[in-house]
């Protein structure tokens, strides 16, 4: 297992494949680098150097008390990427997509292509609708995708460990407060992003209006809708993977 200290936090990282660099970011709470490892990452690794990492507080990375705002997490990403001559591609799911977007706003010259999967806007929307912000962590289980919810209801070890993680993030860190305080992004804020951007949303997802807004307001973006909900890497694994492979293929330098 590999660990890299970035922005003062010890992050669990996994590198797959070889080729042009792409960094993939997972979503909050139940996400980890496994979200991509078992879905789109292996296919992208056939043609790219894929860098996966556990966001702060998640997976096997350290769980600092604070710094769960997109600006700090984009600084984690900047430190992880380090100084390198070539631009990187970024793929993010949910809040991980917002972190990728924050990085692309701060460093437009360092991003070649961007893929935003189910990025929620305003950022707290997704958590609000599912009661993450108002209910205790025990109710977070109710907001999980059905398959996972059932597995946990029938399980023992996995359920206990997931609940412990949710409780720790909710009660021992500023994650929920940071999420609540995360500002919305307007057209002026999005205008800084120059990378060609693919926005992918589920036809049954409550986040879909965010995708329509991003596709309209980002300077160079297109929207793809796939059958599924918020956890599109699980609901539409093969279709999402094909879209990402195509978007990140070498179409010139653009």
């Amino acid at each position: 297992m590999s660990f890299t200290t970035a922005n003062g936090v010890r992050l669990h990282t996994t590198a797959l494949g070889a080729g042009p660099p792409v960094v993939m970011l997972h979503g909050l709470l139940i996400g980890s680098l496994a979200s991509w490892y078992f879905t789109a990452a292996p296919a992208l690794a056939r043609t790219h150097a894929v860098q996966l990492y556990d966001l702060r507080g998640h997976g096997l990375s350290d769980r600092p008390v604070d710094g769960y705002d997109t600006a700090t997490m984009a600084a984690d990403l900047a430190a992880l990427i380090g100084d390198r001559p070539e631009r990187v591609d970024l793929v993010g799911h949910s809040y991980g997509a917002l972190v990728a977007l924050a990085f692309a706003r701060a460093h437009p010259d360092r991003v070649r292509r961007l893929a935003l999967v189910e990025a929620p806007l305003p950022p707290a929307t997704f958590a609000d609708e599912h009661g993450f912000l108002t209910a205790g962590p025990d109710h977070m289980i109710a907001a999980l995708p059905p398959g996972l919810r059932e597995a946990i209801a029938g399980g023992r070890r996995q359920a206990a460990r997931l609940l412990a993680t949710l409780r720790a993030l909710a009660y021992e860190t500023t994650l929920l407060a940071d999420l609540r305080a995360e500002p919305d992004l307007d057209a002026a804020a999005l205008a800084a992003v120059t990378a060609p951007t693919l926005c992918v949303y589920g036809d049954r997802s409550s986040c879909r209006p965010a995708g329509e807004r991003l596709a309209a307001q980002l300077p160079d973006a297109r929207l793809a809708i796939l059958p599924g909900g918020h956890y599109l890497h699980l609901d539409a694994k093969d279709a999402l993977t094909a879209l990402l492979v195509d978007h990140l293929a070498e179409h010139g330098d653009g």
Binding site: S2, T14, S32, F38, T39, P42, G59, R157, K237
Partner: protein, 94 residues
């Protein structure tokens, strides 16, 4: 059931690395067998399964291309993986 020595050796390595990534209480219900399911029986978290793959890769080297193997599988196949599936995969490449 008696395993041939090569299979038994891989099984022992898998068990050692499972304990390394998930803690030794993971084998409280008994030692790993070829029919033990990573998800239904051991209840490994997905990130622990990644950690196991990383440790296997470090132990066996690049010829055990775990990610290439995973890339050919559907999610339900990954969820249903047994210790025996993994041992067979490793045995074919070592």
């Amino acid at each position: 059931m008696t395993l041939d020595p090569a299979t038994a050796a891989i099984l022992a390595t898998v068990e050692r690395l499972v304990i390394e990534v998930a803690g030794d209480e993971i084998t409280l219900a008994g030692p790993l067998t070829l029919t033990t399911s990573f998800n239904a029986d051991l209840e490994l978290e997905s990130i622990e399964f990644v950690a196991l793959a990383e440790q296997l890769q470090a132990h066996y080297g690049a010829q055990v291309d775990f990610v290439g193997w995973i890339s050919t599988k559907q999610l339900d196949e990954i969820i249903a993986l047994t210790v025996g599936d993994l041992v067979t995969f490793i045995a074919a490449r070592t």
